[in-house]
Symmetry: C2
Subunit: 221 residues, 2 copies
DNA sequence: TAGATTGTTAATCGATTAACAATC
DNA sequence: TAGATTGTTAATCGATTAACAATC
């Protein structure tokens, strides 16, 4: 078949999609790789190469048709049908996610929340039913291809994921600060704020060190 | 001076640090690159190369001393002094972040929240004072090297960041779903859940397509 | 000494991007 | 036609990792 889309490209498609939607909202019909690159904060050659993996949807000398590119990018990302989401963990984070309005907008539907607390099981949170861990397998069968969002404490994240994987889960968004072990073929994305802060701390420290070395003063007020 | 630490390495140091802390908590004194790699979900050669940027802190035939490596990694990441954090935006997300217990643990101190709402300005949220945008410059002067966490609506994120950068900010953690334009020398990390979900949607779709192509059935129950 | 493990080299791999022919 | 812009090639760059000498 066609060349597989590289990982780095897949990670950028949602950024292009966001830029394209902004353009569409502004009534813009056509966009060049240069403009799209500028809006998305990347190199223009990279945009063209990334888009070429989807097919030849541009017109030389003209650019890309915004609406059509939105359609093709969405299709490539599997955002056309409605995509189910199951939230594991109905604590603060889980509830915040259940209330997040961004999901429905993007064609995502939260099917269920899973929690171990008997006080929560059987109830609803943000309009989403809360079920016990014994019903994971049932939830995953009813919502094939659902993405599992892990919002449990770090200590139990791995066993929760094991259960979901056994129930057929193939896509996991992990908010717990642990490295998850999953079998081949299961995709995991990690969101870890503490980790991002530590990376920034490194560069902040670097900045201070080099500022010190160069005798740079702080910006005058 | 010494070779600059590659970006990819910087991004992994916090993961090693987490693994090392777990080991320390378990009373483990010494660890090999192999074991640390396993715990951190990376290749052992990569661990050794990454750690070699910090210096020669291992002992051939023995491994790395856990406590000492924690110290050196923390130092490299600038986690020794207390690092200030300023949260821009006192909405749901901002408040959730202010209440997040993980900050204080990691030697981070939330200095202030900045919001435009007169009802919030002058008050406190989660023990953190809320100030108006007119005091950004003052807050940044009092907390040099502070990391700015952007938790504002996407529409105003860029102008908020511009103001902080003018006030001397060099490190930004952005939760708003926009590409930020910042001058050279300012580090930005992006956390975007909707984006991560779309990436996973791609792989979920892929899985379904190939499963379909290969005639694979779902896992028997 | 024998076994283990680091630190580093060098080969490999994948991603980035300048450049330009193709073509609207 | 002249100008603009894509799609793709090929050079470049940086990151990964197998392999192994150094050495505890």
């Amino acid at each position: 078949m066609s060349t597989p889309v590289p990982e780095a490209t897949v990670a950028r498609l949602p950024i292009y999609l966001r830029s394209l939607r902004e353009l569409a909202e502004m009534g813009v019909k056509t966009v060049s790789s240069n403009r799209l690159a500028e809006l998305s904060g990347v190199n223009a050659a990279k945009v063209r190469k990334d888009l070429s993996y989807l097919g030849s949807y541009g017109v030389r000398g003209v650019g890309y048709e915004v609406g059509y590119l939105i359609f093709q990018t969405s299709r490539e990302l599997g955002l056309t049908g409605d995509r189910g989401i199951v939230i594991a963990g109905a604590g603060h984070l889980g509830q915040a996610l259940a209330n997040y309005p961004g999901f429905a907008q993007k064609g995502c539907r939260i099917c269920a929340m899973v929690d171990i607390d008997p006080q929560k099981v059987g109830g609803e949170l943000g309009g989403v039913p809360v079920v016990g861990p014994d019903r994971v397998s049932e939830v995953m069968s009813r919502n094939p291809g659902a993405i599992v969002v892990v919002a449990t404490p770090a200590t139990v994240a791995q066993e929760v994921v094991d259960r979901f994987v056994r129930a057929g889960a193939h896509s996991i968004l992990n908010f717990a600060p642990v490295v998850l072990n999953v079998p081949e073929g299961v995709a995991v994305r990690q969101v870890d704020m503490a980790l991002e802060l530590q990376v920034l701390s490194f560069y902040a420290e670097q900045g201070e060190r080099s500022a010190l070395a160069k005798g740079v003063e702080s910006v005058p007020s």
